[in-house]
Symmetry: C3
Subunit: 337 residues, 3 copies
C-alpha cells in the first residue's frame, strides 16, 4: 500500500474497469470483482492487482495470493488456481497504466507563490504553479500547466513547453525545452561547455554560443548536467530518458527514445542515434557517431564509432561477444591454479 503521506489513492476498480485501463483481456475472471490497489507478487493479497513481467519471478507468481495479475499470454498456464488474469502483450506497460489509475499524480494548485521571483516580461502560461523561491528570468516563456518547484532557477529567455515539471533547485539557462519535460531536482541545463584554448600562458575560455534544445517527453535525472553548445546546440531528442548524475557535454546530439542510465558521461560533439541504450557509468569520448539502436554495456569506455544495432562492452569498448570472450579468457588464465 503506497504511503498516503506521499501518494494519492483512487479506486476501487472492477476487473472489467482494470481491463479497459490496461488494454488487457480478461481470462477466467470475475468481471465485477473489485480491487483496491497494486502490489508486488509476494506482497499482494486477494484485493490487489499484481503483474508478472520477468520469468525470474515465475515461482513467486505460482505462489502469489494476488487477487488479479497482469500476465503475458504464455504465463496463463502457470497461474495459481482462482487468480483472476488480465492478459496483455506487455504486462509491465499494462501495470504502469493500472498503477497510475490507483495512484494518480496529485493535482497541483496553480498559482504563483508570493515568494517566487518573476523577471521582467517573463510569460507564464495559464494553470502554472510556481513555488516559493523559484526565480524565473526576464523574458522567459513558460508554457501552460507547468510546475516549477521551490528554488528552481530559470534563466533569461528560457522557453519551456506545456506541462513541464521542473524539480526543486534545478537551474536552466540558454535552453529551449519541449512539452511534458520532467527535470528532477538539482539538474543543471545550459551552463557553459568546457571549452578552453589551452596553453602554458593560461587556458583561455572560449565563448559558448550555442543552446540546449530538448524535445518533447524527455525526462532528465537528478543532478544531471547538460552543457550548452559551443556554437552548434546541444540536442536531446523526443522521448529520451536520462537518469541521475549523467554528464552531457557541449554539442552532443542525442536522438529520439534513448535510455541513458545513471553516471554516464558523453564527451563533446558526439552524436547518438535513436533508441540507443547506454548502461550505467559508461563513458563516450568526443566526436563519435553512435548508430541507431546501439547498446553500450555498463562501465564501457567507448572510443570508436558504433554501427547501428551493435552492442559493445569493455574499456576500451569492443563488440560484446569479443568483450565477453576476453573476460572469459582472463578468467580461465587466472583460475587454473
Amino acid at each position: 500500500m503506497a504511503d498516503p503521506r506521499f501518494f494519492a489513492a483512487a479506486g476501487p476498480f472492477t476487473l472489467r474497469e482494470l481491463a479497459t485501463i490496461a488494454g488487457a483481456e480478461i481470462a477466467n475472471g470475475d468481471e465485477a470483482r473489485r480491487f483496491v490497489d497494486v502490489a508486488p507478487l509476494g506482497a499482494a493479497g486477494p484485493e490487489d492487482v499484481s503483474f508478472l513481467d520477468n520469468r525470474r519471478y515465475l515461482d513467486a507468481f505460482r505462489q502469489s495470493r494476488a487477487g488479479a495479475c497482469l500476465v503475458a499470454p504464455d504465463a496463463v498456464k502457470a497461474a495459481p488456481s482462482g487468480m483472476n488474469l488480465l492478459i496483455a502483450k506487455d504486462p509491465y506497460r499494462a501495470y504502469a497504466k493500472v498503477a497510475a489509475a490507483f495512484h494518480p499524480p496529485r493535482a497541483f494548485e496553480p498559482g504563483i507563490h508570493p515568494a517566487a521571483h518573476i523577471g521582467k516580461d517573463a510569460r507564464i502560461g495559464e494553470g502554472c504553479r510556481i513555488e516559493a523561491g523559484a526565480a524565473i528570468g526576464a523574458r522567459a516563456d513558460i508554457g501552460r500547466r507547468c510546475h516549477i518547484a521551490a528554488n528552481a532557477v530559470i534563466g533569461e529567455g528560457v522557453a519551456i513547453g506545456d506541462d513541464g515539471w521542473i524539480g526543486p533547485g534545478v537551474s536552466i539557462s540558454h535552453a529551449v525545452l519541449g512539452r511534458r519535460a520532467i527535470v528532477h531536482g538539482g539538474a543543471r541545463i545550459g551552463q557553459d561547455g568546457f571549452g578552453f584554448a589551452l596553453g602554458p600562458q593560461g587556458h583561455l575560455k572560449v565563448p559558448q554560443l550555442g543552446r540546449v534544445v530538448i524535445g518533447d517527453d524527455v525526462e532528465i535525472g537528478a543532478n544531471t548536467t547538460i552543457d550548452r553548445g559551443a556554437g552548434p546546440d546541444t540536442v536531446v531528442g523526443d522521448g529520451t530518458k536520462i537518469d541521475n548524475l549523467v554528464q552531457i557535454a557541449h554539442n552532443v546530439r542525442i536522438g529520439r527514445g534513448c535510455v541513458i542510465v545513471a553516471q554516464v558521461g558523453i564527451s563533446g560533439s558526439t552524436r547518438i542515434g535513436d533508441f540507443v541504450m547506454l548502461g550505467g557509468q559508461a563513458g563516450l569520448t568526443g566526436h563519435l557517431e553512435i548508430g541507431d539502436g546501439a547498446k553500450v554495456a555498463a562501465q564501457a569506455g567507448v572510443m570508436r564509432d558504433i554501427e547501428p544495432g551493435v552492442t559493445v562492452g569493455g574499456s576500451p569498448a569492443v563488440p560484446q561477444r569479443q568483450w565477453l570472450k576476453g573476460v572469459a579468457l582472463i578468467e580461465r588464465m587466472t583460475r587454473k591454479d
Copy 2:
C-alpha cells in the same frame, strides 16, 4: 590551527583532561600540562596534540615536535624523547574525540527565518533552525533540534528525526529519515526511480510508489542521489555513511554500517548487507545480493552476487586475488619486450 573564521575553538585542556576525553591512558606524561589545539605530526608544536594511526607516518612521528600524541601501545617505543603519550587502542577514534573537544560544532541559534516557507500543518520540533529560503512542505514532520540550511526543500509529508542536519540546497521528498541524519548540500532524496515500460512507441513512465527510508546516524554526501522505491522502499540502514555524488537507484536496500565512497552507482533492487565497503566509482548492476562485510574495490563493476566477507575487484568484478593475478599477468605480458 583551524581558521577561526570557520571553526569554534575551546580549551586549553590538560593532559589529564585529554586522556579522559579520548578514553586513553597517559604514559610518561605530565598530567597538568596544557594543550591548545590538535595538529598533524609534521605541523604540531609543543602545545599541540597529534596522533599516529598509520605506520607509513612512523618517521614523521619520530621527528615530530608535538607536545603530546595519541598512539597505539606498540608505537610507544618509537616515540621521541620528551613527548607526552596518550595510549589508545584506536588512536584515530581517540583523535576524533579530542579534535571535537578543541573545535566543538558551533552552537546554532534556533528559530525560523522570516524568509523560510513552512507548509500547512507542517510540524517543526522545538529547537530547530530553519534558514532563509528553506521550504518545508505541508504536513512534513521535522524533529527536535534539526538544522535545515538555506534553500533546502523538504517535500510534503517528509519525516526527519531529531538532531538532523540538512545542508543548503538539498531536496527531499517521499522519505522518512531517522535521527542524527547529516545530508550534505545538493543531495537529492526521494525523486522518481528510473522506471519505464520501454517500447518503440515510446517509453511509458511507471509510477514510483515507494519511499526512501533512512535509519539513524546516516550521513549522505553532497550531490548524492537516492531514488525512491518503485513499490517497495529504497532503504539505508543505521550508521551507513555515503560519500559525494553516489547514485542509489530504486528499491536498493543497504544494511547497517556500510561505507560507500564517492561516485559509486548501485542499480535497482540490489540488496547490500551490513558493514559492506564500496570503493570509489564502483558500479553494481541490479538485483544482486551483496553479503555482510563484503568489500568492493574502487572502479570495480559488480555483475554477480558477492558472498559475505569476500573482497572483489575488476570489471567485471572477480575475487580480489583472481583480479590481481589477471592484472599481474597482463603486466608481465606487456612488459617483457
Copy 3:
C-alpha cells in the same frame, strides 16, 4: 548566429579590427571588409569569421563559404580562393578572442536583490550583483564586481575575490576563493570531508578542520564537489579548470593550470602537480603524487604515483604504451577465431 534571447551581439568589425582583436596577421585580405559574426566552417557565410584548428576539418575548410577564417600559417595554401585569411599561431585562442568580441558577456546590473539575504557583518564589494534568494553568511567577504546568482548559499566567513561568478544554487562554506572564480550551478565547495574512525561499534565522524583554498582564474563545473580538508586544506591552484560532476576529496592539493574533465574522482590527500590533465571518469586513489604535466586517460584507475610528464591509462593505470599493448594483445587473442 547566436540566439539573441541568450547572447548579446556586437560588431560588425572590419578585417583590420579583427586582426587586432585576434592578434593575427592579415594574408591576402580586404582590410576594410566588415564581418558580422562567428560561425563554424560548415555554417559560415560571406559575412562570418570561422576558424580551422584541427586537420580533421581540412575538407570542411576547403569547401567553406566563410568570408574570413583564422588559420595557422601552414593551412594558408589549402584555403579556398577569395577567403580572407587571418593568420595566428594558435587559431583556437584567436577564435576565442574574436567570438568574445562579437558576443561580449552581458553587462550585469549591480545591486542586491531585496529577496537576497545578507548575514551580519558580511562585506559586499562595490559593483556586486546579488540575486534573489542568494544567502550570504555572516562575516563573508565578497570582492568587487562579483555576481552571485539566484539561490546560491555562501557560508559564514567565506571569502571570494574580485570578479567572481557564482552560479545558481551553488553552496560554498569554509573556503577562500581567488579572483575571477567561475563556479557553475550546483557546485558544492567546503562541506565535510568523508572521514570516519571506522569500527563495528559505529563509524565515528572525525572533525574536518581544514578549508578549501582556491587560486585565481579557476573554473569549477556544475554539480562538482570539493570537500574541505581534514586538518590541512584542500587546495586548487591558479588557472586550473574543473569540469562537471568531479569529486575532489579532503586534503587534495591540485597545482596550477590543470584540466580535470567531467566525473573524475580524486581521493583524499593526493597531490597533483601543475598542468596535469585528467581524462573523464578517471579515478585516483588517495595519498598519491602526480607529477607536473602528467596525463591520465579517460576512465583510468590510478593507484600509484605518476612521474612528471608521463601519460597513463587503464585500470589499474600503467604507462600509456604498456596499456595500449595490453589492449592490443587481448584484442588479438579474442579476435583470432
